[in-house]
Symmetry: C2
Subunit: 374 residues, 2 copies
């Protein structure tokens, strides 16, 4: 459906078709002097079990009221309701009419309800996805699918946002390996925006649809183009397996940002077949290993899954399951990219090209450095 033209030399901006925004790319800037903040990684060996950790098995959790709930002696993944949720379920006494809504052209507010869960990835305190075998990552994938099934039955919920903040640099408040789920009675802004753009593309390209074929899909077309380029041109591909591909997207913002996407059109996690679930675990394993190997550290990132809203709706078919990884490191294990002044007030900006980042990730081993040197 389209070909890649050569990337402009020198400073340029690239379009993000999922958001409609633009990223300024200044590849010549990576050599500027740095007297700013460095966050050396914590190299203290971690305990397998930490008696003070409120996520380890058998330990007491923290809760706002001081009521002490105790974790079970879990041996695989473990899911519980967040003790400090950002959103709360709607109380039966609340009807949407009695809720305060401030509304004018300028001032608008609406209540938000929902539920927040925590997913412990492993009973072990000292591992991360990068150090887990594919079989254990598969249990996380299965847990995500189960949560999707369960929460989709609650008709008050509209969207289930699964995500992970990894590492202190990404605001993770506890080092025990875990992810989160925030499910809301509204589709949050980012997935809503993507869904609108996926729909827009599909409708715009719709002339080419026949009754027998799927409607055109932006992510199907994009990933097909990245993968079908001749070998020397697969400049943004990091890895692939039968069902999934991982690329540094053309429009990446974070230095080593990646997009993990199904090769065929799948709209939601729970629709993945068993072999696709395995392939997802497999590509997560190889990606997180490469990440850790890049700077030989526990590579921080925020990761999130985008898919169809959890109640059936006319736009759901346009959704295309994918995961975004947003990692902050730029130069080494201690020096990150700060998206600050110009990026916040002007326009997002990056210092190395997507092609350079992909080439460096491709060069990393899929065997974790801690195991390779052992």
């Amino acid at each position: 459906r389209f070909a890649f033209s050569p990337v402009p030399e020198g400073p340029h901006q690239r379009y993000n078709p999922l958001t409609g925004g633009w990223v300024l790319c200044s590849p010549q800037r990576a050599t500027r002097p740095w007297q700013g903040q460095e966050d050396p990684p914590d190299t203290e060996p971690k305990l397998t079990y930490d008696p003070t950790c409120y996520l380890c098995p058998d330990n007491p959790r923290k809760s706002p009221a001081g009521i002490s709930v105790q974790n079970p002696a879990y041996t695989s993944t473990f899911v519980f309701d967040n003790d400090f949720p950002a959103v709360l379920p709607q109380r039966p006494t609340e009807s949407s009419e009695t809720q305060t809504e401030a509304s004018s052209t300028i001032i608008k507010a609406t209540p938000v309800h929902g539920t927040c869960k925590v997913i412990c990835y492993s009973p072990r305190h000292d591992v991360s996805m990068a150090e887990m075998p594919v079989s254990e990552i598969l249990r996380i994938v299965e847990t995500w699918c189960d949560i999707m099934m369960e929460l989709s039955r609650d008709t008050r919920l509209r969207y289930v946002q699964i995500f992970e903040n990894k590492g202190p640099m990404m605001g993770c408040s506890n080092p025990h390996p875990h992810g989160q789920v925030w499910a809301l009675d509204k589709v949050p802004q980012e997935p809503a925006q993507e869904l609108a753009r996926l729909r827009g593309y599909s409708v715009q390209q719709g002339g080419e649809t026949t009754l027998a074929s799927r409607p055109p899909c932006l992510l199907c077309d994009y990933i097909h183009a990245e993968l079908s380029a001749t070998h020397s041109q697969r400049v943004r591909v990091v890895s692939e397996n039968t069902s999934f591909a991982c690329v540094v997207p053309y429009w990446a913002l974070w230095p080593f940002e990646t997009l993990v996407v199904t090769k065929s059109h799948v709209t939601r996690l729970q629709d993945l077949t068993p072999s696709q679930r395995y392939d997802l675990a497999d590509i997560l394993h190889s990606l997180t290993c490469r990440y850790d190997n890049l700077f030989r550290c526990e590579f921080p990132y925020s990761m999130g899954i985008h898919q169809a809203p959890c109640q059936s709706g006319p736009d759901n078919d346009y959704a295309h399951l994918h995961l975004h990884f947003y990692p902050p490191l730029l130069r080494n294990a201690s020096i990150r990219k700060f998206l600050v002044g110009f990026e916040m007030l002007g326009q997002p900006q990056r210092d190395i090209t997507a092609e350079e980042a992909a080439s460096r990730l491709r060069a990393c081993s899929e065997i974790h450095y801690k195991r390779a040197s052992a």
Copy 2:
């Protein structure tokens, strides 16, 4: 033109009329346990002059080619071209037609040209705006106006983005007090989006315009409503003087985010009268003092100025000069708000209300803690 309805209790989302986005607000969440990253402020006393600083007067600067430029023995503000610019001026040999442009529905890139400058606020290495007298801040304001005048004469430039990253937490690469200017041949995304929304509001409300009156303006209406509420309701106002007001906007994202805005409709810095320039320096002085006093530290932030594009255009009159302050600290001088997983992948989220933040800033003295205790 509108009244504030009561703010919803419990988790809710608020609309940002300048971006069209929504911010999830979870006031109940501020008490969750924190075992995450802490960045204790640097309490080492700073030198008045640092021989190793490439921004101090008389010192050699760093440059990519290793050519050593020496700073003059400047005594006030000092402006120079950034040695590591994110954008470069268009070379005379480049015509826009010969520039590579990748373009399809999904893949788009365009070259970006421009110029980057650094503004040293003071010859002293150890002060920040918060510790400078109004008379010295006025010199920074005058420098901004001079730069606007100068760069607006370059017809290739479309927008002058003035900003400051303060503190290592905000990616500031050198502690010497300084701000930056990135001027581009395109209006960057954030101001372009604001301008489109200011225009949209004005056109939508246009029925009320008469030939004699100014067109309606979103920021004029908003700030008028915040200021004209009865005293007990001025819940988001931090401070004001004759020409400027400072509020924690209804839609604030960062915990202690503020908006500094002209009370009358001024579109660009260089149109400020001498007394308005003084008032801008004055309100910057009181705001930055309050910020430092809030947690008794050199309060980090990114700050940026939004105004009309620098070449005359049909939409310029809709612009309304304002400054955004985005400070990351949440609980104390060491614990920040991380806008990570859910915020990046789902929707921006904050933990304390705008009203609570404004009330705490109002309670802070306008006399800097270092001078008060001296």
